[in-house]
Amino acid sequence: MENKTPILKLKDITKRFGDIIANEKVCLDVYEGEILALLGENGSGKTTLMNMISGIYFPDEGEIMVKGQPVSIAKPEDAFNLGIGMIHQHFKLVDVLTATENIILGLKEKGGLDLKKAAERIKEICDTYGFEIDPNQKIYNMSVSQKQTVEIVKVLYRGADILILDEPTAVLTPQEAEKLFNVLRNMKKDGKSVIIITHKLNEVMEISDRVTILRKGHYICDMETKSASVQALTDAMVGHAVELNIDRPEPVDPKPRIQVDHLTVRSQDGVLKLKDVSFTANSGEILGIAGIAGNGQKELLEAIAGLQPAESGDIYFIEEDGSREELLGMDPLKIAGMGVSLSFVPEDRLGMGLVGNMNLAENMMLRSFRKGRGVFTDRKAPYDLAEHVVEELEVNTPSVFTPVRKLSGGNVQKVLVGREIASAPTVLLTAYAVRGLDINSSYMIYDLINKQKKRGVAVVYVGEDLDVLLELCDRILVLCDGQVSGILDGKTAQKNEVGLMMTKVGGGEAE
């Protein structure tokens, strides 16, 4: 392989956004018929680099060569013509159209529109690589994994030889991810080159032939996967040695704190989101909630937090002395008025938990602005809290007067978690607390959550990374289709078992 010319070669690529350097003198080689993993933490410039290959950004400096020829990729069309196709993290599909219609959308083919012929070709592509989609199915009827398949087929249909996948497994169950990997292996056999952007190390080990590591916009190194170890990759990615184990202290005097009884929730348009959900969350314990995204996690947390009306059922807060109080039907203000200190780290950080255009201090004020009698807000306390959070959680920000939308994802999350923990809660709800965070920030968040657990807080942790859920949580509740698929002991649960329960209520043999 070493002697061949790379099918795609990047040389000294630099890209700046204002003062920020996203990529600096990055080099990358991709050969025919190989799977290259592009590994790096968030903000290390992986996606920016790939966007330059697919014609979304134009590099400030550097050279791109395809099959040995220098090329200029100024727009996505240029990338297509060179046989480069990218599958983005956020799908770009038209919901009301079928798979076929989406795939041929925007193609300038000679002759009239022949959907039948297109469908046949799609079938052909699917059979070659082992995809399973129905060309005539509408997108809005598809699961996330099916939508992703459509995106991949779309790229193949346009004749791509080099495929770039941006964190493709982030939205998939372990079983679906395995299926995707099989397809990628088939492509490789067919001589296609695949670049997969990821920060999950186990995936790198499983699927790739070679790894290229980026850190803070710089090219770090390039290694054969065979000769790499997880620890070596992590160290290269983070820049220093990292301890990879998550702590799981013993639960502290667990007592029932939140009791959910036969909770049923419908969305505004009448779709059943939660069906007869019952469980208890204990103090001093972390209850993990596993499930494919969109299976009722959001509604469950919002119902507890007083943001989601329910059709039937009860949610009780259980006091130290065992007396119960109904939380359902209360709004967040009333819940706080009852003396229940409930903190909630929602999934949508900038859309719900924080206000992007406001600065750190003003965001701290969200929880405290009502304090005091007068008509004016107290600005000193939130300012102090912001300073405190910045220092305590090592938030990387120019000052507490910077709008939070200008911070990176990890820092935004620290601000949010910092504020929610500051109120010394008795119940802490977190949704995807480490989504999009780099390894260091993730471990800091796990640490903060564990500290809350040791304080005797009842923590509900909605997560997507099963490895983390299994290491961090004392018990794991699996949601599937809005139903409780099972509740497992975190210490003994197997990843495979959880994965099956995620796709089918009660688990058992899927497929």
Binding site: G18, E61, A74, D331, L333, N357, F369
Partner: protein, 367 residues
């Protein structure tokens, strides 16, 4: 770089930050360019020396003491209405009903003035006029706010329709209350008795409204920046889910803020009837409810900046009409010139937010 030839000629990126003095340089350049373009157009289209035109614009605003006061009054009226709109727009509630709300304020005040003069002492009359004006303005704001809060109707269309209602209502009552009979208009109300007229300060009837506008600007600044209400308005405007998440009652905030917006519009109406115009016509507010939208947005809802932006708009408007009368054009030519100037002022915001990168020449990048 071997492929320079194929690099796109220009590409656009977002600016991170721009130093304030550079921002002002950009703005000044924009105004100069606008003046040059206007100059070219005047020279070649109407064959008039553009310098003369610009002189006329300035003298139209500052030519005589009377003109200065008149401009001040015009500016104050526009500013009050803009200040009324600011909290609503801060909340991202598109209140296009400033015209109607202010007109209803005029209506409330003049109705009391016409129907109740002589039946109560003058001070009481003024208070009742004030209350009626505020109430009518609030009513016109409440209706769309309530429907928005309750059924999430589109406030843009709703407030716009309320304007037509107000205009028609006043058109009807102008005929009912016509004075003298058969004139189909309401002349100066209580011209002889001066009942329901606010006192002139220092013999100048324009000072009071200017004072009201300045006080209101300061008050609005404090309200929006430092009060709990102001904070709630900002949160609702930025993100309703966040507002709900922290327990802010979004419906309540929408209705409360619109009541405030309507009340201040009503106040503007009261000042027009009781202090400066002493009459009621369907065109009394004269589109300030719409110009005010521009004032508020250009100033990014900062009441102090709104003084500057309303000055620019009043200056251009008065300058344009002065040009029309001096050179004997119809209104359109002046409007074309103000349109061009505004286009450049607003358009330069693009260059403040984005940066253009031109294809690199042999040596250095042009920023």
């Amino acid at each position: 770089m071997t492929n320079t030839a194929k690099t796109p000629l220009v590409h656009i990126t977002r600016r991170k930050n721009i130093a304030w003095y550079r921002a002002w340089i950009v703005r000044i350049i924009a105004v100069i360019l606008a003046l040059i373009l206007c100059g070219i157009i005047t020279t070649f289209v109407v064959h008039i020396n553009p310098i003369e035109v610009y002189k006329t614009m300035i003298s139209g605003n500052f030519g005589t003491a009377r003109k200065v006061w008149f401009m001040g009054q015009d500016l104050a009226t526009l500013l009050i209405i803009s200040l009324a709109l600011a909290p609503a727009f801060r909340m991202r509630f598109w209140n296009l009903g400033g015209d109607g709300q202010a007109l209803m304020g005029c209506f409330g005040a003049s109705a009391v003035m016409i129907l109740c003069s002589g039946s109560m002492p003058n001070w009481l009359l003024l208070i009742v006029m004030f209350a009626a004006a505020i109430f009518c303005g609030m009513l016109w704001a409440f209706v769309p706010a309530f429907f928005k809060a309750r059924w999430n109707t589109n406030e843009t269309l709703f407030t716009l329709m309320m304007n037509y209602l107000a205009t028609q209502l006043i058109a009807f009552f102008v005929v009912v209350w016509e004075n003298p009979k058969g004139s189909s208009k309401i002349g100066i109300i209580n011209q002889r008795t001066q009942l329901g007229w606010l006192p002139d300060i220092g013999g100048n009837k324009y000072i009071l409204i200017i004072i009201v506008a300045v006080v209101l600007a300061v008050a609005m600044f404090i309200y929006m920046r430092y009060s709990k209400h102001g904070y709630e308005i900002a949160v609702v405007g930025e993100s309703e889910p966040t507002a709900r998440y922290v327990g802010i009652k979004v419906r309540k905030v929408i209705i409360r803020t619109m009541l405030l917006s309507g009340a201040i519009c009503g106040l503007a109406g009261f000042m027009m009837v009781a202090s400066t115009n002493h009459t009621l016509t369907t065109t009394l507010v004269g589109g300030r409810g719409f110009t005010g939208v521009m004032v508020a947005w250009l100033a990014k809802f900062n009441p102090f900046f709104m003084i500057i932006t309303s000055f620019i708009l009043v200056f251009l408007g008065r300058g344009a009409s002065e040009i029309s009368t001096m050179f004997g054009f119809n209104d359109s030519f002046g409007s074309i010139l103000t349109g061009i100037i505004l286009f450049f002022i607003i358009g330069c915001e693009f260059f403040l937010n984005y940066e253009l990168h031109f294809r690199k020449s042999a040596k250095k990048e042009v920023a």
